[in-house]
């Protein structure tokens, strides 16, 4: 059993997320940074589907009453075991009775804490991921609170303390990220100057980001006025099952829809972040800078393949 002493800013149980639930307005949920989640599991000898803890920024403190192996990946944070600093992206021994704390954060936004055996919560609709919106998955469908207790599953294989992801394969966290998007959906309904501004100007993360979306501050993006001024029809009133990573325009500001977003209306989708770059988006926080670069579908699919190859290389390189 692990016991949450302090959940910090926001801690949830997450995994790969769900597929096949979009039609029922249930979001994919799952780890915002899928690479960090995957590597955390690999470091402690878990399979890819094991559930981890995702924590935003800093402050998570927990204790364990059994010996276990853990790894913390994602953001650049101090990992403190009974007050002693340990490295991220590394398998650590957490003896029974010890306390693990996420301390100072220097870069990034989300950390993943994997326990050998995985977090043992019931599988709902094919996943253990917390869906905060529907109130299902994880522990009671909600973010963790102090005194919450979580079971750890059966460890499948023993791993050695100190196993780590080589430095060269760790993401270079930056306060200025380039995010690649495929333009489309309602992009043609933006003013041409606004469409250009989307990919040519810099935007800053607004402080209200959560697991549903992150909004950006910068040049105001305008939806083109209808040719006929009497025309009261609007493109942002059309309901849409938003793609994961959709870049939408609401009230003139671009917003990226993340893993807890569901079909809805009231926003004009103008593009979609490519899958590998969703991990980058998970690690930016206010007031970090984001620049969008447009790529076509052919490039997006090529970048996806390259990223999959990279993930495989990284898992093989864990030593």
């Amino acid at each position: 059993m692990i016991t949450i002493v302090d959940p910090g800013v926001r801690t949830t149980v997450q995994d790969l997320g769900r597929a096949g639930t979009m039609a029922m307005a249930m979001p994919p949920a799952g780890a915002l940074d899928q690479f960090a989640n995957r590597i955390a599991n690999a470091l402690v000898g878990n399979g890819p589907k094991a559930a981890t803890l995702e924590t935003a920024l800093t402050g998570l403190t927990l204790t364990t009453d059994t010996d276990c192996t853990v790894a913390v990946t994602g953001a650049d944070v101090d990992v403190l075991v009974d007050g002693v600093t340990h490295p991220t992206w590394t398998a650590l021994w957490l003896p029974a009775g010890s306390e693990l704390r996420i301390g100072e954060i220097r870069g990034g936004a989300h950390s993943y804490i994997a326990f050998a055996g995985g977090i043992d919560v019931p599988v709902v609709m094919g996943s253990r991921a917390t869906d905060l919106r529907s109130g299902v998955g994880g522990l009671g469908g909600r973010a963790l609170r102090s005194k919450d207790m979580l079971r750890i599953g059966q460890r499948t294989r023993a791993v050695e303390e100190g196993r780590h992801l080589p430095m060269r394969l760790r993401p270079a966290l930056s306060a200025s990220e380039e995010i690649r998007v495929v333009l489309g959906v309602g992009a043609h309904r933006l003013n041409p100057e606004s469409l250009r501004a989307l990919t040519e100007r810099e935007f800053r993360l607004a402080p209200d980001a959560d697991r549903v979306s992150c909004s950006l501050v910068g040049e105001t993006l305008e939806i083109a006025e209808p040719e006929d001024p009497e025309d009261t029809r609007r493109p942002d009133e059309v309901p849409l099952a938003f793609p994961l990573g959709a870049v939408t325009v609401t009230g003139g500001a671009p917003t990226c829809l993340l893993r807890d977003a569901v079909p809805g209306r009231g926003a004009l989708a103008v593009g979609t972040v490519i899958t590998p770059d969703l991990d980058l988006l998970a690690q930016v926080k206010a007031p970090d800078e984001v620049r969008f670069t447009a790529v076509d579908i052919d490039s997006a699919l090529r970048l996806r393949t390259e990223h999959s190859d990279f993930v495989r290389t990284a898992i093989r390189a864990i030593a």
Binding site: M24, M26, L183, A294, L301
Partner: protein
């Protein structure tokens, strides 16, 4: 100052019937049959039914690599596993599906399998009336109740006539948005008979679970207590979402997935209590029938076809 910037324009593919296809990153394909909407007028039933026919045609192909398909009143989104299905390869498949849904005649007439479900509704129930009364400051016409307002703007003299119009002809669910179970539906009646109403000026922070609301030209049943800007008409005693036990015929959590057809039947306070108690005890038998929805037959005579669908119920 001139700067050499490689620009990538948004890429679109037009499908039969002027539907617009584009790629949502590397995993999603987005198709829109309608791209603009007047919230005061609402959604076009014909387009919403075409979407359902196309989505059903796609599902019947049982293609490997499709992870998810979600429809709305105006279009649909497909999520693929690109390792199993290149999203670019969907274009010819969708051209064929659209061609059939739009131009289908005779033996190629578009249809989809679904079911019709009877939903009892306590119109003007005290619980939703009380909630509505507490949020008059957000209402476009605070002096009237929601039911009075909806009746008046639709030209009915009495609330009773509105209830008759709402319950006489069935609705079809064509969008689930916001939260699981929130089944947005359109009434299967001619355009001029659609009930249309402005929404609250700003959403109520409360809506009782089971509340039947109408906004624009769509009716919804609130799956759980949540904010909503729909006009409150009454309350249904049957739960529409249950992750524990499952309400759908296939064990899915939803009672009313798209494209379920719903027939509302007015009940009174004692009827409501009786059904709510039966639902809680697990003894309530939902009145449900499997149907095949035929777009061509519906287009030929909307009211006659809607009546025939209702006739399939016990």
């Amino acid at each position: 100052m001139t700067q050499a910037v490689a620009t990538v324009e948004p890429q679109y593919f037009m499908l039969p019937g002027k539907a617009r296809l584009s790629f949502g990153g590397d995993e999603f394909v987005v198709v829109q049959l309608r791209e603009v909407i007047d919230p005061a007028v609402g959604f076009d039933v014909k387009a919403a039914l075409q979407v359902q026919a196309i989505v059903a045609a796609l599902a019947s192909l049982d293609m490997d690599g499709i992870a998810d398909v979600a429809s709305t009143h105006t279009g649909y989104t497909i999520r693929v596993r690109p390792e199993d299905l290149d999203p670019r390869d969907l274009i010819p498949v969708l051209i064929a599906a659209h061609q059939k849904a739009i131009a289908g005649r005779g033996e190629f007439a578009p249809t989809f399998e679904t079911s019709i479900i009877e939903i009892p509704v306590f119109y003007g129930d005290p619980v939703t009336e009380e909630v509505g009364a507490r949020f008059r400051d957000r209402h476009p016409s605070p002096a009237e109740s929601d039911l009075e307002f909806v009746a008046r703007v639709n030209g009915f003299d009495t609330v009773g006539e509105l209830v008759d119009a709402h319950s006489a002809h069935p609705f079809i669910v064509t969008f689930t948005g916001g939260v699981p179970g929130n089944a947005e539906s359109l009434q299967l009646v001619p355009r001029e008979m659609q009930l249309r109403v402005p929404r609250y000026l700003s959403p109520r922070t409360e809506t009782p679970a089971g509340a039947v609301g109408h906004g624009g030209n769509t009716t919804t049943i609130a799956p759980a207590d949540a904010p909503s800007d729909a006009q409150l008409l009454g309350r249904a005693p049957v739960p529409v979402v249950d992750f524990g036990n499952g309400l759908g015929t296939d064990g899915s959590p939803l009672l009313l997935p798209a494209p379920t057809v719903m027939k509302f039947t007015p009940i009174d306070a004692s009827g409501f209590d009786e059904i709510a108690a039966a639902c809680a005890a697990g003894t309530y038998e939902i009145n449900r029938a499997d149907i095949e929805f035929d777009l061509q037959a519906f287009a030929a005579d909307r009211l006659a076809y809607a009546r025939a669908l209702v006739g399939e119920l016990q």
